[in-house]
Subunit: 113 residues, 2 copies
Amino acid sequence: MDDSCCTPADGTAMTAGRAEEVAALLKALADPVRLRLVSLIASTAAGEACVCDLNEAFDLTQATVSHHLKVLHTAGVLDRDKRGVWAYYRVRPEALAAVADVFSSPALAGVRA
Amino acid sequence: MDDSCCTPADGTAMTAGRAEEVAALLKALADPVRLRLVSLIASTAAGEACVCDLNEAFDLTQATVSHHLKVLHTAGVLDRDKRGVWAYYRVRPEALAAVADVFSSPALAGVRA
DNA sequence: CGATCATATCGATGACTGTCGATACCGCCG
DNA sequence: CGGCGGTATCGACAGTCATCGATATGATCG
């Protein structure tokens, strides 16, 4: 009867609740436009970018870019700072680090060779 | 006229093409069920799991679990290995490492404090 | 105050996606 | 060979999402 089929999990796996959290964060980042937005903001010398610049970087409506920024902000990836007429966004490094941690953690990446 | 508003990007940002690639990978992972699937498989002693186990771990139809496995396989996150009647999936560590790398890279995470 | 400009919000629309039941495919066992 | 059981695929449906044009909000300038 060899091994029926199963190699049971050892309880190390991610809980359903944590999976929901991580999925929410990933969903915010799983879009080409939003990835480029984050990348653009992160690559500025000041560590922040104003919406006027971001609008011009894409072939999209101002409404659409604003929507993407809102999604990233709601997910905790970006911080908003309105100064005068202009709005500035900056990256929250903890959010990105959280993603890096999940996929560097032995529980996931540590599939021992 | 102070600083009109802009802090221009320095060309370090992610290209549109790369953003598409990364987004495709993230989209495959940005789902609670799929995250748990990957986690379950990665946490097995053998580094692989058969579909019969995975089906029982969720309150979902066998068709739905199979669909999620296909998405992960197509995205390059999982390897499939059909042995006899049973199908075994294992995690491709490179795929997860790729995600970890993107979000550890100075271009994104290196927003200096 | 009124005009103007930057940004956010709203409502609509077309595309995509997670889920299901049903069914097809394919090794296996008797 | 015929039936059985595990897995993948198909078609449908409901919910979500990216995008847009139009409009609201709110700060600045003349």
